[in-house]
């Protein structure tokens, strides 16, 4: 609170940032609803995949919130999450290709996000570029 009064916090969710807010919002909803529906229907089928989708939803949700909130603290938190997201996409993407038997059903991050037009792998890169630039 005091920090906001002392120096004006900058916006992260405006300009190009708004397009990021939109995509992160969409992916939060997509990953969350996907994991919820799948967990309710048949959790035992692919627990690892569904848990990873739920984790994706949490990460996307937090980045969306940080972008909307703005300010230096949120910017740093979002930057860390974008980096983590990129690592997750690359690790899980490689994992799904190397050991498909561990994933009877797909996650958001399967095959580097191919089922989602590779947006899951593009988004964190654009996110980090924007968050670096937004600092000015």
């Amino acid at each position: 609170m005091t920090a906001a009064e002392e120096k004006p916090t900058y916006q992260l969710g405006t300009g190009p940032g708004q397009v990021l807010v939109w995509f992160y919002g969409v992916f939060t909803v997509a990953a969350a609803s996907r994991s919820i529906v799948q967990m309710i229907m048949d959790y035992g089928k692919a627990p690892l995949a569904y848990t990873l989708s739920a984790l994706a939803a949490v990460v996307y949700g937090f980045i969306t919130y940080s972008l909307v909130r703005g300010g230096e603290k949120a910017r740093r938190a979002a930057l860390v999450c974008c980096a983590a997201e990129l690592v997750f996409v690359l690790v899980v993407g490689t994992w799904t290709l190397a050991d498909p038997s561990a994933f009877p059903d797909a996650t958001v991050w399967s095959d580097y996000g191919m089922g989602y037009l590779f947006i899951p792998v593009i988004l964190p890169v654009l996110g980090m570029l924007w968050l670096r630039k937004a600092k000015r």
Partner: protein, 119 residues
């Protein structure tokens, strides 16, 4: 009936995406005419959602599960209005980019809806 609407919504969404993309290219925010366009697409998506529910009510079942189908119907209806509200707070070209992105997301959702229903 549902398939025809799915095509109509997808086509309308792509036109809206191109239109708003053009506005962004010309460095313009979304204007009244764009919002009318968004309203048209949203009404089409609403009709699609209602007809989808009616078909479910008549006992027809989508190929890939009712829960997934309902989730996509709701998502398809919400996509363009949500992007439109966002663009209201962004009176620059980036608001237009957001709506264009929203319309593209809707078109993708329609492709998935077609698969889920089993057309």
């Amino acid at each position: 009936m549902l398939d025809a609407l799915t095509f109509a919504v997808a086509a309308a969404a792509l036109v809206l995406a191109a239109w708003c993309g053009y506005a962004a290219y010309r460095d313009q925010p979304t204007k009244d005419w764009h919002f009318i366009g968004m309203a048209v697409v949203s009404v089409l998506a609403l009709v699609q959602m209602v007809i989808g529910f009616v078909q479910l009510g008549r006992g027809e079942r989508p190929e890939q599960g009712t829960a997934v189908f309902v989730a996509y119907l709701i998502g398809a209806f919400a996509a363009v209005p949500a992007a439109g509200v966002l663009s209201l707070s962004e009176r620059t070209r980036w608001g237009s980019v957001t709506v264009a992105a929203g319309a593209v997301v809707l078109a993708v959702l329609e492709v998935r809806l077609y698969d889920i229903w089993g057309g």
